[in-house]
Each structure stands twice: as C-alpha cells, then as structure tokens.
Amino acid sequence: TVGCVAVDSSGNLAAATSTGGLVNKMAGRIGDTPIIGAGTYANSLCAVSATGKGEAIIRATIGRDVAALMEYKGLSLEKAAAYVVQECAPVGTVGLVAVSANGQVTMPFNTNGMFRACANEDGYTHVGIWQ
C-alpha cells in the first residue's frame, strides 16, 4: 500500500492512499484504503494515510481515531497517532503517516518495518524502513 499526506503553509490538508490489497485475497475483498476513516482520512486538523492489514485497520478506524483524539481530547498529532497505532490495533498490523495543520509530521508503525519518507519547510528530511 502506498500513500501520501500533505499540508501547505496555510494549513490546508489532503491525504491519498492506493493499494493492490493482500496477496491471495478473495476476489471482491474490500480493504481499508477506500474506506473513509479507516485507511484514509483528513479534516481541518490532520491528514492520515495507513498501511498494513486492512481488516485490522477497518476495525480500529485508524484514520478517524487519530483525528478524533486531536479533536475531542486535544492530543498532539504525535501522541494521537502513537496511541492509535500502539493501543488500538494488534501488533504487527498497522503503520501510518500523518501531518497536522500546523506542520507536524509523524510516521508510527507497530510492524517491524515501514517504507516511509517525510520532509518539512524547515529543511528536515527523513527516509527510513525500520525503527
């Protein structure tokens, strides 16, 4: 699964995700990617794109839960995303990338690796696979 999230200097957010799904999935199986609030979500606070095992991501409403923790509990993007990835989905099933309206970036995962990259206006750039 591939995905991208972006925020501009005015705080406008967007998310996109695309996938082929799971190897040996049943024909007709729908995964998390096209389910709004599961594998992909954006509102005025953050944009989220998830990857991993779709069934786990749908059950945990990963994308929407990150936004909801920010919206209702006032958590930062980093804390909201970390909580959702570590506490809401089984170990080994999910990773996500997210940005907030104020330019924060986070890329947590509970699998043993995630192909990921990020950059921001301050010149910070990161490309990684493992912790």
Partner: protein, 188 residues
C-alpha cells in the same frame, strides 16, 4: 506553521537482512517521490495536487503494492483500490476493484470531483474510468513475476499476506529466527 509532506510504501514484516539490491531501489524510489512532492508544494500546488502526484509516482513503481506491482487475488487477478480526501471540506473519493486503470488515485479524485458520490467499485468504477477517459492498460501490465511467485507461495500455505511479509515456509520448516534466502519481505 509550515508545509510538510509524508509518504509510505507499505508496512509489514520487513527483515533487516533485506539485501541491498532489494532495499536500495525502494529507498531511492521513496526519495524520488518525496522530492516530487516537495517540488510541487514549493511551487504552490495544492495539497490535493501534491498527494495525487506523489501517489501516482508510487503506483507506477513496481517495487510497491499499488498500480504496477499490485499483489494478486486468489484468482491471479489484480483488484486495485484508492482514495483521496481533502481536509477543510472533507470531500473525498474512493474506488475499488479496478483491473485496468493505470492510476487508481486519479480516478478516486474524479469520483470526488465529478460525481455526487464518494465511492465507486468494480464494473461501475471501470465504466466511469472509460467515460472520463483516464488511461487504462491491459491487466497484465500490473502483474509482476515476483507477485506471481508470492501468490504461489501464499496458495501453497493457504494464507494471505500483507505488503511486506517474509516468504512463507512449510510448517515443519518454520523458524521465525531464520534468515531469509533473499531477505525480501513478501507482504503487501
């Protein structure tokens, strides 16, 4: 406040023993796609344009599980899915069950912008793609030899695999600490 961009190419059981010839092309692709996004956002493109542009590039790279390189169903076919969402309006579009559309993410954006709906799937999504004139290709374009092998392994083990999963071994040979022959992760 400031712009920021993040992207992923899949998660899963990615072994640290992955050999350089498999790791480096993926890292290079991540850097390449990140730079495309950075250049676009610096040029004043909207975040929606940026995420579509970056995901199209990732879809076209056979090292990742989307577009060319999509993993296979139990029938040996591809069924691709994509989604876009805009934060301030919560407008969104999604597609599933695509077999011929070169860049599913762009069709998802068209669903958002050109229909009163959020989500189109299978025959309806393919028909909409034709009506919109998006680029389509024979399904064989999306199928790589590597993914044919992965399906064969998964069928033999009667398992599904996410983006990057280590090759499935027969139960009697399973050893979680064993290093992999090719070091590649075989999940989605």
């Amino acid at each position: 406040m400031g712009w920021a961009i993040a992207l992923h190419g899949g998660a899963g059981d990615i072994p640290r023993s992955m050999p350089p010839e498999r790791r480096e092309p993926r890292e290079a692709a991540l850097r390449h796609c990140l730079q495309i996004g950075v250049d676009a956002i610096k040029a004043g493109r909207s975040p929606l344009d940026v995420v579509e542009l970056v995901v199209r590039e990732l879809e076209d790279n056979p090292h990742f599980n989307a577009g060319r390189g999509s993993v296979l169903t139990s029938n040996g076919t591809v069924e691709m899915e994509a989604c876009v969402m805009v934060g301030d309006t919560k407008k969104c579009g999604a597609v599933s069950g695509l077999t011929t559309v070169k860049n599913a993410v762009s069709l998802a954006r068209l669903v958002m912008e050109k229909t009163p709906h959020i989500y189109l799937g299978f025959d309806g999504a393919e028909q909409f793609a034709k009506e919109q004139g998006v680029e389509t290709l024979d399904a064989s374009h999306f199928i790589t030899p590597e993914n044919v092998d992965r399906l064969k392994q998964a069928k033999e083990a009667n398992k599904v695999q996410i983006d990057y999963t280590q090759p499935i071994q027969k139960v009697e040979e399973e050893d979680e600490s064993a290093s992999l022959p090719n070091g590649d992760s075989q999940i989605g």
